[in-house]
Structure formats: structure tokens, C-alpha cells
Point group: C2
Chain length 293, copies 2
């Protein structure tokens, strides 16, 4: 059976690695904090001293870490994955990171005869636990076909998006749309509240027509109840939007809606709301009203 | 049977008045351009010389005209509806207009013992023709209950939203959400195109998750095909957004997303795209890239 490596055992990575192990794959792991690996080691995962050692042992290595700088470090630093990469190995980066970084990493891996698939996910920790993540995967089609059984242990809606980087680009497009739905729904809720509308009636009325969106169906009811617990955390959304802004600028684009929303979220984060859910954007709109008044 | 008056026989009003007539209500009509009334007169509608005469003859008068100034004129000018209003009459304004104007008109009508219901619609000319409009109605509950059979000849999803003005406020909330989904989807499409993504794959992939929205399902495919025919015309959307901005400012709110989107659409209108569909917002985002490059 194909030997799998896994690096990054956070709130997403731990259950994802667990699914791979449960499906009978030999699993080689490494992560910054060894304690996070103990539960998997007890179930049979093999600890490696560093990323390089993971790459030396496994035929397919999955990474899911935090920021672009972490992705870069895991792959390109001393004792990193690229150093240990074998001819024919496939690497899968499931972090959300810069498409241009994936292209650069792929170039390094190719020197060893290995290839990268960039495969960011959506669906959050619930999707990771239940094995129901959506996965957007870019890279060589033949590599995608080879790793599909492994991806299938972690996700349900798995799409091949095209060449290397296209998975991340698709994820960015996803986050750009969400930035728009978040500002629209947040401003409508603040408007409706100020206008004295019954917000439940307002939401149920407009959700059926051209204003209908996932955010209205799923986050507006939470806002109305005053529930700002994170489904998706503001600080994580800011990270993604910064990547999208960086990439869009690199391509010569100016996306004023995305920039506006990112700016509002950054202010919220500075005020201490970074660990709230993204629905807390209403607080930024409410504060703008106060500034004016 | 209750006598109905109808003023405003445009692309929306004509089929709406037709449905009322077909359901057996005596129908008194007046409109700026008499030729637009001929078809209804042939089917039995009774022509009145002015709005006042419509109000004198009917027990329930429906109006659907263009801009807030047209609404004001029909109700409050010389020979207008308020002059002819009878004790106990119910007026229904189905135009999209300023909530505060509806409140002012209602105040005038009350001097005669009459009342207003503000009942803007969504669903466009297709909904008007098929009698499947969504109707958001504010005013006295007893008046809403009385006119529900009449509204039911024109619409399917008819919601009582609360006191006078709340129908318009609900419509504004609807347009504010749409402003957000439009900018999000437009920026994502421009980003995806520039990134070289297959846009059909991109849209179908992200439409299933948290980015899902009516705009992505219905307008993104049109943009991809280069189809900018109006489902909803840019100039009409601008009119609605201007009302929402006016009302939000009057309430002390600052809605930066709405203002940004309205501004982009105004530039498009100035460049001659005013009769395009709202999906042409992508053209504004593409032009921003050119400015930069």
C-alpha cells in the first residue's frame, strides 16, 4: 500500500490524518509540537524527526499548516520536504496559501522528479472530523488520479481544477465571493435593525429571491441571536483575504470590494474580535454608524 | 365586488393590472401615456382623466410608477390621489421608493380617513406577467388582510412586514444584500479569468459551499457566456441603491459596501452601460485593472 506522510496536526490536520490511518495507509508524521502526534502514534503512525525524514519514507506527503511562511518552511528550509523528496513522489499541500508559492515549490520538487498538487479545502473542522471536506486540487492530472483514493478518505466534493496553483486560485475565488456576501448581509442586517424591521421576517422574506445566499441562510440567524461564535474565525479569513489581495495585485488587478472587506475585518481584529466568527462583521458596520453620529 | 384603481401601466404595471381585471374586479385606470391603457380599456377597464378621479371611483388604488418624485406627484400633486381619497379607502404603492416618503403619504391620506400599504415587489417583468411576484407589504394588518386577495392575483410569495414603510425597508435590505453578492461574484470572476481558471469549473465548485448564492447560480453563467442582457437593468438597480443610501444616511448609517457598489454602477451607467443587466459589473472591475496597468 502506498506510504503516506503527513505534516501539520492542528485542528484540521489531526482528524484528516486520522482518516488516512483508519483506511489502512502506513502513515509517517512530523509536526512542530510532538504532543499533538501522540494519539496518532498510539494508533500506529510512525514519528519522523523532521520533514525531510517524512519525505524520505513516504511516497505521498500531505501538508496542512498555517501561513504561507509555514508552507515555505516545511518545503524549502533545511531538513525540509524538498531535501528528502524522492523521484516519483507526490506532495499535496492542503494549506490555504499563495498560488504563486505552490508554483515555486513545485519547481523545486521537480528537480528531484517529484510533483506538487495544491489542494486547499473548505468545510472547516466539522468537515475535517466527518471526512466531508470540499477539496479543490490543482496539478498534473495523472497525480490527481493517483491520490484521489487518499483524498477521498478526507473529503466528499473533490474537484480537479487544472494546473498547479489552480486549487489555491479556486479557493481564493471562493473567499472573494464570501467577502461580498458577508458585507451585503451585514449591511442589510444593520440597516434592517435600524429601520425597526423584524429581522427574522426580513431574512426569511429576502432569502427566497435574488438576495438568497449561504451567508443569509446560515450566518444571519446567528447574528440575530447575538451568536458570534466562530464557524470560521475572523483571523483566518483575514489570512485568506490577504493572500487573495497579494495574488490579485501580482496579476495587476484591483478588487475594491475585497480590499474594503479585508480592511473592515482587520479593524475588528485590532479591536480584539479576531477569534469571533466572520458574522461579527456587523459590529464593524455598527461602529461606522457611531463614528458618524 | 371591491372597485380597484390602477395607476402606472409600464412593463410591470400593465400585466399586473391585467391580472386584476381577469379576476373580475372593476378596474379604474389612469396613466401618463393613454395609449398604454388601450389594451386594458378594450378588456373593460374604465379610463379616468386623472389620479384624483381614480381615487374618487375606487375603494382600493394600486400605484406602480418610476422614481420617488413620480410617486410623490401621483399622490400629493394637484388632481392627485390624496385629493380624491375617500374615507376607508386603501392605497397600495407597489413602486420601489423611499420608506420615508410612504410614511409622509400615509399621513396625508389619513387626513381623509384613508390608509396606505407600501408593497414593493421583486421578480421583474417575468414575475409580473406570470403573476408570481414576491410582494413585501407594510401598513395596518387589517388593511393587508383586506387587500390580500387582490395582491394574490399578482404574486405568490406575499409577506406582511409590519408598519407602513417596512415593505420598502425590506426591499432595500434585499437590494443591499444583492449589492454585496454582485461585487463578490464579479470580483471572483475577474480574478478567476485572470488566473487562467476554467470559469465553469470554478463556479460549479464554489457554488456548493459557503460562497453559494443566487447571483453565482444565475448571473455568473451569463457573464461567462458574455451575455449582458438585462434580467435586472443597471439603471434600475442604481435607482434602488440611491434610495437605500438616502434612507441609511437619514438613519445615521454608513454602509461602505453599498456605496462602493453604487459608485461602480454609476460609472458604468455614465459610460453607456445603464441598460445592461446588473451582471455587467464585471466590466467595471476589469476597467479598474486597466487603470492600474
Amino acid at each position: 500500500m502506498i506510504k503516506v506522510g503527513f505534516i501539520g496536526l492542528g485542528v484540521m490536520g489531526s482528524p484528516m490524518a486520522g482518516h488516512i490511518l483508519e483506511n489502512g495507509y502506513p502513515l509517517y508524521i512530523n509536526t512542530r509540537t510532538r504532543e499533538k502526534a501522540e494519539a496518532l502514534i498510539e494508533k500506529g503512525a510512525i514519528w519522523c524527526r523532521n520533514a525531510k525524514e517524512v519525505a524520505e519514507n513516504a511516497d505521498c506527503v500531505i501538508t496542512i499548516v498555517g501561513f504561507p511562511k509555514d508552507v515555505e518552511k516545511v518545503y524549502l528550509s533545511e531538513d525540509g520536504l524538498a531535501e528528502g523528496a524522492k523521484d516519483g513522489s507526490i506532495f499535496i499541500d492542503m494549506s490555504t496559501t499563495e498560488p504563486s508559492l505552490e508554483i515555486a515549490i513545485n519547481k523545486e520538487l521537480k528537480k528531484k522528479g517529484a510533483h506538487l498538487v495544491d489542494a486547499p479545502v473548505s468545510g472547516g473542522d466539522v468537515g475535517a472530523r466527518n471526512g466531508t471536506l470540499s477539496i479543490m486540487a490543482g496539478g498534473r492530472r495523472e497525480d490527481f488520479d493517483k491520490i484521489l483514493p487518499i483524498l477521498s478518505t478526507m473529503g466528499k466534493n473533490i474537484v480537479y481544477t487544472g494546473e498547479i496553483g489552480s486549487g489555491q486560485h479556486t479557493k481564493m475565488a471562493n473567499q472573494i465571493v464570501i467577502a461580498g456576501t458577508m458585507i451585503g448581509v451585514s449591511e442589510a442586517l444593520v440597516y434592517g435593525k435600524k429601520a425597526g424591521l423584524d429581522l427574522d421576517t426580513m431574512v426569511s422574506t429576502i432569502a427566497k429571491g435574488a438576495a438568497g445566499c449561504w451567508t443569509l441562510d446560515n450566518l444571519a440567524p446567528r447574528v440575530i441571536k447575538g451568536d458570534f461564535d466562530p464557524g470560521f474565525m475572523i483571523d483566518h479569513f483575514i489570512k485568506d483575504m490577504k493572500i487573495a489581495i497579494y495574488e490579485s495585485r501580482a496579476m495587476g488587478l484591483n478588487l475594491p470590494g475585497l480590499r474594503l472587506v479585508e480592511d473592515l475585518y482587520e479593524k475588528l481584529s485590532e479591536e480584539g474580535y479576531g477569534r469571533n466568527g466572520t458574522q461579527a462583521l456587523v459590529k464593524a458596520i455598527e461602529e461606522l454608524a457611531k463614528d458618524k453620529g
